[in-house]
Symmetry: C2
Subunit: 151 residues, 2 copies
DNA sequence: GAATTGATTGTGTATCATTCTCATTAAAGA
DNA sequence: TCTTTAATGAGAATGATACACAATCAATTC
């Protein structure tokens, strides 16, 4: 949960014998310029880049998202739409969690500092190196409760 | 997060105009008899049932798992293997969370009562009806840290 | 307890997110 | 500048999950 620049990304990649490519730099930038509370799927990122004239292949997008998630740069979110979403993995005070309606998929972000503390402590206790820590609440939103729709 | 019996499952289904079938009852039983800390994927459940001579189709398994998750009977876990896992959604004191190594997928369960309290409070504040609440910690386990393997 | 209704099942097929293959390209270090 | 090998792009392959539909049967009604 560090704040990354192209330079710090480059040195962290090079340390492991990997490379900073224009594609990776571009993708990092997209996430850094994304409005708050906005997250992207692979497909969405692909089309967003297409729209900006950046032709990065879908394969590379998938590879880069996975890489950055495993480096702790991005968070991988499971928001119940059947595909993953990604957002910058930001430290306090931007760190947040998700409350998801399992019926309509409406998602609310919320903050709670003690959760990150719990996560940090738990990982530390087991000797794990923390990358991300997210509380996911599955629930039924007020509208869907009233709707009495099939599950 | 209630404890279900075949009877209580039946009445909850019937309330909504749905039915208790032998397949649904069998699947509930499997989860109730599962050892602690054990969770199943759709495919695993399918083969487990096959082994017991219960021929429930894979479609029905998928449908039932989804239904029960949306009713709050089961928890849907994303444990990084590329497919979902399910376990009984048990209340305090069995409620727990997961610490996952993103490299080798080794998973540790841990308990923390304050998280469920936070989840309950958050859902309530927004008027959501809570189904499940899980803290997922993504991290790198001690062995994988030493291994210096590719991400 | 027989008849009715429509929810549920099973089989096979379709879908769609994600990963893989492999030839080509191009970062990084010498 | 040259060498090495990681990374990319295009398309094919994979695999988890959803769907369609005819047949079945759980719950309710008479």
């Amino acid at each position: 949960m560090t704040v990354y620049t192209a330079t710090s990304l480059k040195s962290e990649l090079n340390e492991r014998g990997w490379r900073l490519t224009p594609q990776r730099e571009t993708i990092l930038q997209v996430f850094q310029n994304l409005p708050k509370a906005k997250h992207l799927s692979a497909e969405e990122l692909y089309h967003l880049l297409q729209g900006e004239g950046e032709n990065i292949s879908l394969s590379t997008i998938y590879r880069t998202l996975k890489l950055m998630a495993r480096m702790g740069i991005l968070r991988e979110l499971e928001l119940a739409e059947g595909h993953k979403h990604y957002e910058l993995n930001q430290p306090y005070p931007h760190h947040h969690h998700h409350l998801i309606c399992v019926r309509c998929n409406k998602t609310i972000e919320f903050k709670n500092d003690s959760i990150l503390k719990t996560g940090t402590k738990t990982a530390q206790k087991e000797g794990y190196h923390l990358l991300d820590c997210q509380l996911t609440i599955h629930a039924v939103c007020p509208m869907c409760q009233r709707a009495l729709l099939p599950i």
